[in-house]
């Protein structure tokens, strides 16, 4: 929760931000850090897309249980994104196929894009931030 929400940057400029997630959830801190940055960005009313490719698609799996490794289960947090008005979640079809995954395996509703659609989406962004 952030009192920052009351702040207005005054510029009123809305840019297209893409957060590109390419890492599996727990082996590195990228996934969790990326998610926190997205939640903070949500306070600034920007046009945010979250994209999951390569091992990044593993972040969204259902049935994650982190008790045994004593880390936070932030897979649940992806379901809070809707409440933050972050509704554009995309996954890469080829990355899903390569890992034997389908949309039914994922904890949130996503749009599955082909590599060409993903390429075009990336090309139209003002800012791409990679985790």
């Amino acid at each position: 929760m952030s009192d920052m929400d009351e702040m207005d940057d005054g510029s009123g400029i809305v840019k297209k931000f893409m957060f590109l997630n390419r890492k599996a959830p727990h082996g590195t801190v990228y996934a969790l850090e990326g998610l926190e940055v997205v939640l903070i960005t949500a306070a600034f009313d920007q046009d945010v897309s979250m994209v999951f490719t390569d091992d990044g698609v593993y972040q969204l799996l259902k049935g994650i249980d982190t008790k045994g490794i004593e880390v936070k289960d932030f897979s649940k947090t992806y379901r809070a994104l809707d409440g933050y008005d972050i509704e554009k979640l995309y996954v890469d079809q080829a990355s899903m196929d390569a890992r034997g995954l389908t949309e039914d395996d994922l904890i949130v509703d996503v749009t599955v894009l082909s590599v060409d659609e993903m390429a075009n989406l990336m090309a139209e962004q003002d800012v791409v931030i990679s985790f």
């Binding site: 929760m1 952030s2 009192d3 920052m4 903070i40 379901r79 409440g83």
Partner: protein, 111 residues
């Protein structure tokens, strides 16, 4: 880390008084935190505190104020889902005060 002792039980808190181990939370520590924050706990306060705990259990984060306000409105009605009501309950910010009393970690991105 500082420790707080209430009714013979030790609770570890951080420099700003937030509870370190969420699973230690109970009404005793909530009441202690409320006194520290100079908040007189009423039924309305408990409603928000309990809401925050449920939200955290479900999503593993403390919500941003904007998100909290909207979610409270959905669950408890528009007369409670607004800034005026929440700031009357927690004058120094529902973010800082209600989360602390609910035993949640310091909110992400909070300055």
């Amino acid at each position: 880390m500082p420790m707080v002792n209430i009714a013979g039980k030790d609770y570890e808190v951080d420099e700003e008084g937030y509870l370190i181990d969420l699973s230690q939370w109970n009404e005793d520590i909530a009441k202690y935190m409320a006194v520290e924050e100079k908040v007189d706990l009423t039924e309305g306060h408990w409603e928000v505190v309990n809401f925050l705990r449920e939200y955290y259990a479900e999503y593993q984060i403390a919500p941003a104020v904007r998100v909290l306000t909207k979610a409270i409105g959905k669950k408890l009605g528009p007369d409670k889902g607004n800034n005026k009501y929440l700031y009357e309950l927690f004058p120094y910010g529902p973010a800082k005060q209600a989360c602390k009393i609910a035993g949640l970690p310091k909110p992400t991105g909070c300055i």
